[in-house]
Assembly symmetry: C2
Homo-oligomer: 159 residues x 2
DNA sequence: TTTTTTGCAAAACCTTTGCAGTTGG
DNA sequence: CCAACTGCAAAGGTTTTGCAAAAAA
């Protein structure tokens, strides 16, 4: 995150922070919900609902995927969580706090490159200037060929 | 949008053109397949498999969605058809010939802007220069806020 | 106790697949 | 005729939903 002179609008830096927000929102901090949050805080990248469920199940009682989805949905509405679609698989969830990331994905090899939003500002400016759109690559990534695949392609190699 | 002075690399300009290619590929032009192609040629934008099936069913015997998918898959492999994911719904299919399109989609209002690839070259160059990726917005669009929604957002209005 | 949350089962949605029967060439 | 194609039914993967039981406050 380096410098962030501006405090992020949502400063959820711990499970307790989120717990407070949930309570303020009329919610409760069930064991299950706490575990979901712990998984999200522990994850080093976006994770699927399925994965959250299985990780939690490994530490104790089974936890239904449907409940994970319900939790994630609520947290997303609250602005605590966000999800990204990296290809055709399930959506991947992560905390909003802790520095946003934007993504580039290779359509050929599946490689995912995660970057600080700042590094995409020049691209964003181009898009704004030409189309008026305010582009974000947090929910749907930039898609194309990664450097390696682009090189192979231009070397005339097969798909 | 409008003019496309350059001929596309794959010049399938009619159902018959495609039919010839299909036969050359060992395939047959069944009634159903011909209808799928006619729908694609008649469409003025990318359409879902479901829509193709219902449109065809309106003109005669029902046509299974699964068969539409099988046809689209084959046509896509042949390079005649392509599909794009504009958001969370079903994939939308279109003919490759007739000029490629790339897309920008508003996450808030769903607005879709379709542009000639050429107009995105500056953006592509930025991305190539900074990340080495060869970006394409034909399969997954650029996502963000359209001009109107971006303006509302910056005016401090509610979501 | 009261309201939220969960488990479980089921369904919704998009897409793929198997198989037997039909059809195009 | 024979391979390709279709209908039908079923399943696969992801996500949502209904409802009664369990748990948080």
């Amino acid at each position: 995150m380096t410098e962030s002179p501006l405090t992020s609008p949502l400063a959820f830096e711990s499970v307790d922070d989120v717990a407070a927000a949930i309570r303020a929102d009329g919610g409760r901090l069930s064991t299950a919900r706490r575990l979901v949050l712990e998984e999200l805080f522990a994850a080093d990248g976006p994770v699927s609902a399925e994965r959250i469920a299985t990780q939690i199940a490994r530490k104790g009682p089974t936890f239904e995927v449907s409940s994970v989805y319900r939790n994630l949905e609520r947290l997303e509405t609250m602005g605590v969580v966000r999800h990204v679609h990296l290809g055709h698989g399930p959506g991947l969830y992560s905390l909003v706090g802790g520095g946003a990331r934007e993504y580039l994905v290779c359509e050929r090899c599946g490689r995912v490159t995660s970057v600080e939003p700042k590094r995409l500002d020049a691209v964003r400016n181009q898009i704004r200037k030409r189309f008026g759109y305010e582009a974000r690559f947090t929910h749907f990534p930039i898609t194309g060929l990664c450097p390696d695949c682009a090189r192979e392609r231009s070397n005339g190699q097969r798909d």
